[in-house]
């Protein structure tokens, strides 16, 4: 069976709209009858990636591939890139501004959460060029 493909554009600095793509994927997975635990893991991981694109990378593009046995999410941005991935993966480490923190973000838990909630995570990043984060959750 061909996977179902969903595509989203995440706009830069759009704090109010952030979460719409994840919300839409959640709704779609629910209507397709995926197990709640799978839906929750995809939602949490994708929301964190979506927020990261907004607060750290001037927006980007998300592609979601839904297959019966796996949900794959690919987040592509042309932001500043991540200079030190090991550091970025550490819980609590964040370069978020005070403004962003005031909104409830910037806890430095995004990437660790994504790692925790997915079965596969790959981050390709080039400083000054952008970041592509690919993750998947097995059903």
């Amino acid at each position: 069976m061909e996977p179902m493909i969903l595509e989203y554009t995440v706009s830069a600095d759009d704090f109010s709209g952030a979460g719409e793509a994840s919300g839409d994927v959640k709704k779609t997975l629910k209507s397709l009858g995926f197990p709640p635990e799978v839906i929750r893991r995809v939602s949490v991981a994708m929301y964190e990636a979506e927020i990261n694109m907004v607060i750290h990378a001037r927006g980007g593009k998300i592609t979601v591939e839904i297959s019966p046995d796996e949900i794959r999410v690919c987040c592509e941005d042309v932001g500043p890139g991540i200079p030190d991935i090991d550091l970025a993966m550490q819980e609590g480490w964040s370069t978020a501004s005070d403004k962003v923190r005031g909104l409830g973000f910037g806890a430095g838990m995004g990437l660790p959460n994504i790692k925790k909630y997915t079965d596969y995570l790959d981050i390709k990043t080039v400083v000054g060029q952008g970041t592509t984060l690919t993750m998947s959750v097995a059903v």
Binding site: F15, S16, A18, G19, E20, S22, G23, K26, P36, R40, S43, V44, Y47, E48, I51, L103, G104, F105, A107, G108, M109, G110, N113, K116, Y117
Partner: protein
Amino acid sequence: MTVNDVVKIPEFEIVWQEEDRQVTSVFTCDLLSICMAKAPEDSAWVTVMGNRNVIAVASLADVSCVIAAEGCSFDEEAVEAAKGKVTLLKSPLPVFETACLVHQGLV
């Protein structure tokens, strides 16, 4: 306990009401990443944040209702976003006391 029982707690004020649903626990936190990952499904979430992002997290974490404690209010955008998604309440009490009031209904 259901959301309809929570909205009847005299200290609370309804900001936006959705269809009734089960409330099985109470959760408090303001850092959205933690809420996102840790808020139990069907919980009443007590927070001091009232922006649009709270609604996105509430909806993704699938909580039953959000209660803005400490006299905090939801901004207009948040209330607009909550429509069709999640019940919103306000409480003049601190976070802990607000959560305790919900907890009393759960035990």
